[in-house]
Assembly symmetry: C2
Homo-oligomer: 531 residues x 2
């Protein structure tokens, strides 16, 4: 008998791997350490782009599974993992969190929050990831708390109440760490909550400021609500925004006014619903706002990632903000001033015939209506949605996953009861036109569609682009896909067994580039074995 | 804008793939169609060996994920999938069943049994797979029914009661299809059930015969039970047996006598517990039996796969039966007569000092005991267990996953209550010796260990060997592993994120060899992209 040496001995070293502190300076310069993935969108600019190029168009067809991590829970992973110096931090359903050896997929620690039995969550017990600052991880919870965990152990360091979950306020977003602050906002636009954006001290958990996304009677903007509509006004802030360190402005998108599909009791534009807000990161003071869909009645949350790009605009260097909106229009704004520069439909749109020079939609007064049922494009789930877009400085294209669906809407005044549905409508997909989807590549300065890769169904996952010239995307049929960033040609795909509700990240450990996608109940890690 | 052609169009053809009938002749000659996996152990002989050789020692390091199928349920997959002409049939927890396109991993249909709320199942709501015969699939259920599903649709064709689940009888095994019959046996040795082996008509579901594994007062063997011990005698039959078509004998292994760890109220050998039974497939009549562990008090179920091998034994060609037993001894029997030929410890054993020439263990009368606590090796989970071994005719080695664990036992008379635990002991792993495991390669004719590949922990998954010279195994740390069948050298491994409780299968579609392993909540399919 001879004994073979154990091949897996290296695994036991994992727990002792050194993890250095993630300072604000590192977060600000995240693009300079592509071996890591330090914040939700990769960098503060929201590009979800990596300069890693080991996985390239030439070898993406050789992508091979390196490891799978199973969460041990049913559900749809919407988490964007973070990676710091070889350790991955990810979240699952029900506010589970994990530290994972990023080379091997082995768990270092697991955490699960003890949640109340009855939570009213619109769209699944999901979580979109954590923020990291110093040696702390920050998770926003379904019972509307913000908690800090020790990066090394997963131990709870502090736990603060953000809002009262009995009001059907939940936190599902990945927080954003800026300077010494952790920024969060709530979900709950389906329940008539009133939205806000909060900043908490990363060390103590003390709240530094709150910006109310529905102005109080004494505040500017309150005049955009008739009667008592503001009291249940919605405008939640359930997606992670972006940040310009030079301007010290946060760009935070907001959701629909409530009730989402009936506007009769909330006359006016309903600020700051369906907007992007530019907030001073230190004070939370509003620098400017831009509302994409005034007085929305189609659930067109603006909770898409605002992408920050410095570019030449009509001969002049400008700081731009790009946002492919759920309402079907792609927007370019000046992010210093909020000036509207461009809007262009990037798919099938019929609720507005265009966007006026002042940035306001030109409503279609002749929407097709039959027996009180209106056919509206895009449908309530939007032409795109919260899933991340990507911008590549190599291809100079903006990648966005899109649905092609029109819905049949009926509308009626709903009655408000705290903690209950407050929608005001029923809608169903148009049965005549089968919903499909596509990943589209837009010219970021014109909104023109340069190529599209079709999906059989509407997507729930976003896009990652890399210096290898590859765009990674996932469809709702369970395919994880690598495309040529310039042409949209398919390079490779794998069926992962569950609709993809997240967006890939990439990182490097020990000289090997990995690309990672959560899907269903597992996180899958791929690399090219011999690049 | 240009549209890329959809790469996935081929998927929609799946549902119309022709699936031919799986006749008894095909099952009997299963070795001649290695592109399929037609029965639990691959063939009736229980080898879990495939003549496919596209995946070989030379290229196994290039194994690459082809697809993953997520079950959408929490748990440990113990299922061995079947593959018939490009379609895979697998089961999950809670009697879920699936038909899957074996090339792409896309679901063709899904089935789930509506189970009663309260089921008493010893070891998880598991299922180990289906049998196929004609155009029917057969699943044994946790509520002790046998059901037939339509291969094309997953529709229920018939449903018969095997036993009363209120008595804590459950069916977890993969049935065996032989001729026109479907053979099953129950789990429940922890609850004092009385075991049996049943044969049902595949067409109608009518029961053809039953063999009681605890003899009734009028039956031979009843004299091996003192008093009323037989009434709660255990001897369940919870693992799929094997079959010799020439002899027309089923070889079915049985589990522990109950209570599993206290023998005071069941004096005698307690037939037919911990035995292998040779039954006439047409009538269920006992041809012979061999009991490995008479009067067992350590939960040494003999529910390991009996492997059938024709070989030269001491100069004479003989039909052998090989069984690596949970009690720590590897046995060779003559499968025509049941004659005992050889037994050899294949790991750490202290409960017996050896096996006598008549096949009976020589009990160790000086077991280490302290304060009424006895240290017994192997522990209650056995040196091996139900997970499949494999025999390769190329390497002429027998592969078996093993635990290296001793347990501390305390024993006391339990009280029987129908449907409740009936164990008679407490046991814990010896805290001094950390349990480990290994995949061992035995000389099948001597039981000598030729090589072993160490595991950090005790295994729950078995072994598959192939003509490519590869042995596939899975450990409880979540690694799926390819080893050189001759040397035990590691060729490749992947971390799949959950302890592996099943054994790999292999098949071929469209000229490509796949190897598939269920792990946790997902089924993973690998191949070498450019062999």
């Amino acid at each position: 008998m001879k004994k073979m040496p154990g091949v897996f001995a290296v695994f036991v070293l994992t727990a002792t791997m050194a993890v250095s502190q993630v300072t604000y300076d590192r977060l600000r310069a995240a693009a300079s350490e592509p071996q890591n993935w330090l914040t939700y969108s990769g960098t503060y600019s929201g590009w979800r782009y990596s300069t890693l190029n080991q996985i390239a168009t030439s070898n993406a067809s050789h992508l091979s599974l390196q490891w799978a991590f199973q969460v041990g829970d049913i559900g749809q992973l919407e988490s964007t993992p973070l990676v710091v110096d070889g350790v991955m931090y990810a979240t699952g359903q029900n506010n589970r969190a994990f530290a994972i050896d990023a080379r091997t997929g082995r768990a270092i620690w697991r955490y699960q929050r003890n949640l109340p039995d009855k939570l009213q969550i619109c769209c699944g017990m999901v979580n979109r990831g954590m923020a990291i600052l110093g040696n702390r991880l920050f998770m926003a919870t379904l019972d509307a708390h913000l908690i800090a965990l020790d990066t090394k152990t997963g131990n709870l360091l502090w736990d603060v109440t953000v809002a009262d979950y009995h009001q059907a306020i939940a936190l599902t977003l990945a927080p954003l760490a800026v300077k010494n602050e952790i920024i969060v906002g709530p979900a709950g636009g389906e329940y008539g909550v009133r939205g806000f954006i909060d900043a908490y001290d990363g060390e103590t958990g003390r709240r530094n400021w709150r910006f109310n996304t529905v102005p109080e009677p004494s505040d500017a903007g309150h005049e955009t609500w008739s009667g008592d509509g503001w009291k249940t006004g919605g405008a939640p802030a359930w997606l992670t925004g972006t940040y310009d360190p030079e301007l010290n402005l946060l760009y935070w998108p907001t959701g629909n006014p409530a009730p989402s599909n009936y506007g009769g009791d909330r006359g006016g534009d309903n600020l700051y619903s369906d907007s992007v807000l530019a907030l001073d990161a230190d004070t939370g003071k509003l620098a400017w706002h831009f509302q994409f869909t005034p007085h929305d009645v189609h659930d067109y949350d603006a909770t898409e990632v605002p992408v920050l790009l410095d570019a030449t605009w009509k001969g002049k260097s400008r700081k731009l903000l790009l946002l492919a909106n759920r309402n079907g229009f792609y927007y370019v704004l000046d992010r210093t001033t909020g000036e509207f520069l461009l809007a262009k439909a990037f798919g099938q749109v019929n609720w507005a015939t265009g966007i006026a020079p002042d940035g306001r939609p030109i409503l279609n007064t002749a929407l097709p209506t039959k027996d009180g049922v209106q056919r509206v494009c895009p449908g309530a789930l939007g032409l795109t949605n919260w899933y991340s877009p990507s911008y590549s400085p190599d291809s100079k294209l903006f990648y966005v996953a899109t649905s092609n669906e029109c819905d049949l809407f009926t509308s009626a005044a709903p009655k408000y009861r705290a903690g209950h549905d407050f929608l005001g409508s029923v809608y169903v997909p148009d049965p005549v036109q089968k919903p499909t989807g596509a990943l589209k590549a837009l010219d970021p300065l014109t909104g023109e569609v340069k190529w599209e890769f079709p999906y059989f169904t509407g997507p729930n996952g976003g896009a990652l682009s890399t210096a290898g010239g590859v765009v990674f995307a996932g469809d709702s049929d369970g395919n994880f896909i690598a495309l040529d960033a310039r042409t949209g040609h398919d390079l490779w795909h794998r069926q992962l067994g569950a609709a993809i509700y997240s967006t890939a990240i990439t990182f490097e450990v020990d000289g090997k580039q990995y690309v990672v996608i959560p899907a269903g109940s597992a996180i899958f890690s791929f690399a090219v074995d011999q690049p």
